[in-house]
Symmetry: C5
Subunit: 303 residues, 5 copies
């Protein structure tokens, strides 16, 4: 997530440099053409750039809106993960009846579930970003669990399975009654759903032809605009066209980055920072003395 301040110009410029270079190139080309073959160039009727301009503006604005919705949906999914992680620990503390288990066993299981929930959040974030889904997990789960998780293709799902097994254990020991088990299971169902929703956003490519045609239409519009400007504006055309083109390409790139919020880029949903927040919350709900610091922003963004 980009932070409100201090976005360096080079970051912004970096995104559109090739497209802008191409635009400069072809406006130069049209200048040359004009010098040598002006009389052969067809006149561009005045309506064409206006019609195409309003068409591409509309497409871009709608596309921006769809990208925004997708970005906001990704953030909502991770918001739901925060909420359900907190609720899970609150519910476990409230429901587990320690009198039904050997001394200390209930507390040990509560701690195990809480830590595994932290591990799940980190692991899900890393796997969405295509990073190692197991990195950093050994501090939260036991070596046996680690080994079992490693055998699964979908690591966060394996952690959920261990949660589910623990609930069965607690119920069979009598520390949870069946209603409480089912209520906790409902929380797991919601967590599994959030996981699947994040995976859906990650794995569903934004409609490719739609994205591609918008890109092509911007070029089409700029070429027709350029042909129209050639006659009237002369050499001043090149900076004018470059600025207008930059405006359109910047918007297009912003839309594109918002469409893919789990790409390990500065515009990502800040899943690491959110997982850290959950880490802090759960440790405090478990009354642990040591709590990590919230993740700091790096330069101009927060991962």
């Amino acid at each position: 997530m980009l932070i409100d301040t201090k976005i360096p110009y080079r970051y912004i410029f970096h995104q559109i440099k090739w497209d802008v270079a191409r635009v400069i190139l072809f406006s130069l080309l049209f200048q040359l053409l004009k010098t040598y073959v002006a009389s052969y160039l067809p006149p561009v009727p005045v309506q064409l750039p206006t019609i195409l301009g309003s068409f591409i503006s509309l497409l871009l604005a709608f596309n921006m809106n769809q990208s925004y919705d997708r970005w906001w949906e990704a953030r909502k999914v991770w918001g739901a993960i925060v909420n359900d992680s907190r609720s899970l620990v609150l519910q476990l503390r409230q429901f587990i009846d320690p009198r039904q288990m050997p001394a200390g066993e209930a507390a040990r299981l509560l701690r195990r579930l809480g830590h595994r929930q932290i591990a799940w959040c980190y692991s899900l974030g890393q796997s969405l970003r295509g990073q190692d889904a197991l990195a950093g997990l050994p501090q939260f789960i036991s070596p046996e669990e680690m080994a079992s998780v490693a055998e699964h293709r979908n690591k966060p799902l394996a952690l959920m399975q261990q949660h589910s097994d623990d609930l069965a254990t607690l119920t069979q020991a009598g520390a949870l009654n069946t209603f409480q088990q089912v209520q906790l299971d409902s929380t797991l169902v919601r967590l599994v759903a959030s996981m699947g929703q994040a995976e859906r956003i990650k794995s569903t490519v934004f409609p490719v032809t739609y994205r591609l045609f918008i890109h092509l239409f911007i070029y089409l519009f700029l070429i027709i605009l350029s042909l129209g400007l050639v006659e009237e504006v002369g050499l001043m055309e090149i900076p004018a066209l470059t600025i207008v083109a930059s405006a359109f390409f910047l918007l297009e790139k912003t839309a594109k980055f918002m469409q893919d919020p789990f790409n390990n880029k500065p515009t990502d949903t800040p899943v690491s920072a959110i997982a850290r927040t959950i880490d802090i919350n759960i440790r405090q709900l478990l009354h642990e003395p040591q709590v990590p610091e919230p993740r700091k922003a790096e330069e101009f963004y927060l991962m």
Copy 2:
């Protein structure tokens, strides 16, 4: 689902070839008309193409948005199927109490339900695409079940009925208590709802007149634009009009394909690939040694 790279030009061109041919034809026609009867052609007032152009741009942009919503809804439905399939198996493993049944019976029923859930996903995907809903199912369900399903018109619904019967059996045997049965039934209710939602998207034709009028308006707009261009641009009109027309028709076709995401086309929701993912997940949750590979993309799309 189209994959991000390598969409062949012939695929794109194939979609709009007839419409573009028609546009070339009538712009040729207007050129001829102009040569012979220029003086009789009425002047097209400058506002008409602009007004119609912004109207058709708006309609197309909104239509694109509605198609996108429908496409995204279809993907969400299948995302929910992923989540509930995983939850179903997690819940069954957690809830079933093997001590209440003959040795091995609980494990056998768990495996039967898990495999039938895989079968259900494949069957639903195939029936939505108008393919044989029973193809490939014998590896997951027994011949008796197969025979019973074959008698139903709606095959996936018949599989759900067998799920439901198994829950009754498990409850009567005491391996599930009623509260757990009801929680599992809630998962079945969600799966039945997702099935119905996918069928709804499949069976509900996008408003025909709306779709038709957009198509006609694009032609109307192009004809009026063509009449306007005739006077000013001359022979250069034909490529200009062809390019503009292609832009509009490409968008319209993209919208149309997104409206029908279960049509056995490259732009489909990738239901086979999603069903395979569920297949892998469920087998790993059941600790089966053999797990299939994720489905690969074919050339430039993933089914």
Copy 3:
């Protein structure tokens, strides 16, 4: 619901004939005016038709979108009815314990509830369309139930009350335990909600002034456009204006028809066909030998 093919021209033409006639009339009138009093007509500034044209285009496009949402919501409500009807029967089969009742009694009650659910779907569809809500019901429910339903103003609600009474009977007989009763009641609550949602769409008039002003603005726009065209285009104005006007009025009518999807028109949500699908599904879930055929489309639409 209109079917994808074969919409006859007369059907489309029929919708807008009066509006188009009016447009032809006043463009003729302006021609006459022009011939006699041209010098007294004020010049229409070039911006006015453009501004009004883009305003009315926007209003129509948004209106189309709102109508589409309403139409899609109506379809979703009936999709939910499909899902919950199927779930209701699956649940009843799963939950009812025949050992707690006299022989055959449980099967009889199951069949009664299933048939009443079919009756409810037909009855709701007919009452939404303003038809006789009781037509065709005697083949599904007993004469006593029929008599009791006839006394209620809201027939589908009366059928739900009988469902509810049967659940109480089954529970008191011990064939359902309380958890199962409550789970079944949740399904009834969803069905009651769907019924209310369909009634809401039926009874809530789309904001009248909004609809009216859009209609008036189209005329206002056409008159101003007509005044503008008079000077430039001459007699060719009449067909030009007629075509443009038809485009706008067709869109407006399409929007209007989508706003009211329970009006017994070809553009309706196909509630009869959906009820038939439920009929087939429930009979097959009850293992009945005789099952009706799916409803066929009539000419170019499906009711």
Copy 4:
């Protein structure tokens, strides 16, 4: 809610008379200015009215859409109240076991809860409209309850509290078991939520600056348009501008009225009529012989 027919012109005209008067005034003023100081008036460049016109058109169209969503949300909330009121009575009839209470006591409590639910609907509608929330209630609830409700600031909430107390009474008497109590409580939770949602729409002012700026921009646009027209159109400017202005102001007013659907105006959500429908439904579910008539529309609207 305005009814589909017969909206009197005076009602429509009444809404915009002051704004239109102001527009006529300043177009007159510009005519005078033109006569005396034409040479000093700056020429208005042709793009300005077009740009501002499309900007204000967009704002108004989006604003209309937001207002429509708010209006539809209000209607949905009241639709949910209909559904949950019906479900509440169906559930009470189904769940209450009369054998656990003195003869007639269960029937008396059922009737009390049903009548109080009717009272709640009327009371909520009246309090949303700023009317006396207690008017007409004595025919539904006892004098003691009436006195208790009168002490609360939020009358409908007090009625819900009495519902809640009755559920406790029924449970303690054994006429409801705990699971049924919880299911009924879920219905109360939804009713409390609907009440809060209606209050939210009522108490949340539509963003004031947004509404205000739209109003000012319409004036700004009209002034600039007027300046532009002065040169070309002459005296005919006044009716032209008046008509265009009326179009914009009518839309703005329509949007404004839809934003506040509980204002005791003809454009309100018809809460009295909906409460009457619930009244009829509940009485028939309780098998009462006397049932009121549905509320009739008054002249051109239904409250």
Copy 5:
């Protein structure tokens, strides 16, 4: 929340003064340039300001819509907090069985939970606004609870933990049975979710590049418009441009303020006033004699 009336001009002017100053500055600059180097200035083609104007209008209108959605979502979250706070107290009163506890203990616990719920609402509102989350809490919770809460980083979450502990106490004492506990826990889950949703809106910066580019495009548009006006309008350009610029900047600022509804500004969601409403409701549900007054608006806004 701004109140419908009496927004002082200085408040509005204050928001855009720097942007307007910059616009005046550069239109002055262009006037000077024109006087000295008019012949070197390139002509601005007539289409450019129109195209850019309709592009920036679209972006602003969509942005306004997204901001409005975010603002409305924030208000909905706090509406849900109102509803669930009321339901929580209604449920506690209905469920707690005083006969299972020492005399007066149930009433004491009910009062403690009710007051803590009030404290939670105030605390959440204050922490969202970056104020002291503990201010004013001692009048609602005991010193021991205060001390325990102070140790947590997330104060409202700590209060929820205490709620959760109390539910466990009540259940262990037998004053709640497990169904009732689970139903109350569901209410806590919803409150935790609402808290997380408000935190999500607070902590998620609106996409920075999107916001930034809109700001830059307004300037780009104004500069190009200014260049276009220079030739035609002369000195009158400065007020004209200033007014148009103010319109765009006012809208942009309005959108920006709606994006961040928990910023301790007059445009905030009125969380203090909502918390006060909950305070009043809960005290009356607990039959307390002393109830505070609703919060009054300050000058032109309500916090």
